[in-house]
């Protein structure tokens, strides 16, 4: 049996719940065998006695007194425990231990608590994304699914279900949308206007919307549909629903479609739907040629062409980049892109100029990137091989560091092409990050670096600030990604 200590607080009341809590804390202290805090009523004193906790002091207490009783391995341990708990007994309030602010854990509960909610933005891991999207559609919510790694079967099922429910299923792998003037996920703050966009490509939408906005036009809505929507398996369900919405939208007077070339069975359905609309369309199926378009549609080969066509066809001002050729006399272009569609656009422009192009995300006409194939290398740094286990290069520009160092160290590379994509979701200062990277890289003065900034003045990073940071680092900045590629072609020694 250890040492029993009682301390009596005369005329001090605390409710039994608080005392039970304090008793628990006291009993958990070092060297304490048993402990109790009770008001000194006869029945309570009996309980303390039965528990071997009552000493003479406690036995003398009155009903209105609080007894602190502790039995510990020795007198010191008992005293330390009593002294430690005493401030807590005397304190008036207990610090809140948990987060007393409730947030719903499920879509169902959130929808119930917020009956006005109309869109679920889903960015959870791919293995759970389809289940969450299905729940959202069941509740009549439109879905924007940023998550990728969703099976094509799930995508087909979700899109069919969404069509039955009459809601938009944007994605999976939908990185960009602008709805009611609000940028969602990776998107830019653009001027509001009358051009509506349906796009299967996030950076494609970003490039076209910002070019339109920066050249005097405006965007009504931009609907992302995910990269696979126009494959034959999916059948363009979301693209067609997106067209329906924009066709019916009074604020939209011109509709732009952006996608890789559609599947063979999908294409005629898209063309048919375009033909049913009274609104003019611009169709940019990057890399597709020989389209049999309805009368109300015009084709655009590149993103820049699409933006120009949507604004009425006048050419944007060309960016002049006067160059005398690189110091290293390199003949190759190396593209290091964070935006997959921007990489595709560059490949097209190089191919159209008659160059040999290889890429890890090759467009029709370009070769697959491998060590033993010659050609101008255009690399999509957002491809799985670079992003395995790390964020997308638009979030973490560090991915570009090593390929950039390699390109600058390679004397056969005369021009390096880069993209900077800003806006919501993107890195807070990608140009600054790139400039800082370059400081430590030998060869930067021997190679010409040309880039463009996809974004607007209203974006958090501010386009003009990003341009200045690039220029200060010795990078030539073009007005668009296409202009950057065209400028590269003009560098002496390259186009040969």
């Amino acid at each position: 049996m250890g040492y029993t200590l009682n301390k009596v607080f005369q005329g001090f009341y605390k409710d039994s719940v608080a005392l039970m809590r304090l008793s628990r804390d006291l009993a958990a202290m070092d060297g304490v065998e048993e402990a109790g805090l009770m008001m000194g009523s006869p029945s309570n004193k009996q309980i303390l006695m039965d528990a071997g906790l009552l000493a003479d002091d406690g036995a003398a207490a009155e009903g209105g007194d609080l007894i602190l009783a502790v039995r510990a391995k020795d007198a010191t341990a008992a005293q330390i425990a009593a002294d430690t708990i005493e401030p807590e007994i005397m304190s008036q309030t207990r610090a809140a231990t948990g987060d007393s602010f409730w947030r719903p854990q499920t879509i169902r509960a959130a929808a119930k608590a917020n009956p006005d909610a109309n869109l679920a933005l889903i960015s959870v891991p791919g293995e759970f994304a389809a289940a969450e999207a299905r729940k959202a559609i069941n509740r009549g919510l439109h879905v924007m699914m940023f998550s990728d790694n969703v099976s094509i079967e799930d995508e087909i099922n979700l899109k069919n279900q969404a069509r039955e429910r009459g809601v938009l299923m944007m994605g999976p792998d939908c990185g960009t949308a602008i709805l009611d003037g609000v940028p969602l996920a990776f998107a830019n703050k653009v001027t509001t206007g009358d051009i509506g966009i349906v796009g299967a490509s996030g950076t494609g939408i970003q490039e076209v919307t910002t070019l339109i906005s920066n050249n005097g036009g405006g965007i009504s809505h931009a609907i992302g549909v995910g990269g696979r929507d126009l494959k034959d398996e999916i059948g363009g369900i979301s693209t067609l629903m997106g067209i329906d919405r924009l066709d019916a939208d009074p604020a939209t007077n011109h509709i732009v479609l952006i996608s890789k070339p559609p599947g063979k069975t999908v294409l005629p359905n898209i063309m048919k739907r375009i033909g049913q609309s009274a609104k003019p369309f611009t169709v940019c199926f990057i890399g597709a040629s020989d389209l049999d378009l309805p009368a109300n549609a015009t084709v655009a080969r590149t993103l820049k062409d699409a933006a120009q066509a949507a604004l009425g066809g006048d050419a944007f001002a060309e960016t002049e980049i006067s160059e005398t050729g690189s110091n290293n006399n390199g003949t190759e272009i190396r593209g290091l892109y964070s935006g997959g569609t921007l990489a595709a656009e560059t490949q097209l422009i190089l191919l159209d100029a008659g160059l040999e192009v290889v890429s890890n995300a090759a467009v029709p006409g370009a070769g697959q990137l491998s060590d033993d194939v010659d050609g101008h290398k255009i690399i999509d740094l957002g491809d799985d091989e670079y992003t395995q286990g790390r964020p997308h290069p638009m979030i973490d520009p560090e991915i570009r560091r090593q390929p950039l160092a390699e390109a600058l160290a390679d004397s056969s590379v005369g021009v390096v092409l880069i993209d900077i994509v800003i806006g919501y979701g993107a890195h807070p200062d990608p140009a600054g990050q790139l400039a800082e990277m370059l400081i430590a890289m030998p060869g930067k003065d021997d190679t010409i670096i040309i880039g463009s900034v996809t974004g607007t003045e209203q974006d958090p990073q501010v386009r003009s600030s990003q341009v200045k940071a690039l220029q200060a680092a010795g990078i030539h900045v073009a007005g668009s990604n296409a202009d950057a590629a065209i400028a590269a072609l003009k560098v002496p020694g390259i186009n040969s």
């Binding site: 947030r103 006005d116 109309n118 679920a120 933005l121 009611d180």
Partner: protein
Amino acid sequence: MASDKDTPSLLGGKLSVINVGLDKFATELADHDVPVVHLDWKPPAGGDPALAALLSKMGA
């Protein structure tokens, strides 16, 4: 050209979002004065994707 306030809703009502996943998206929406509920999301069905899929098919 219409101002922001005149933009008719594409979704049939003022944009109001339930954000499931990255909290950054919720913060940015709130900055645009879009009503947004950021879920206290946890992997559904205790992290069993097959069971989660079954439940979503049962209308959970």
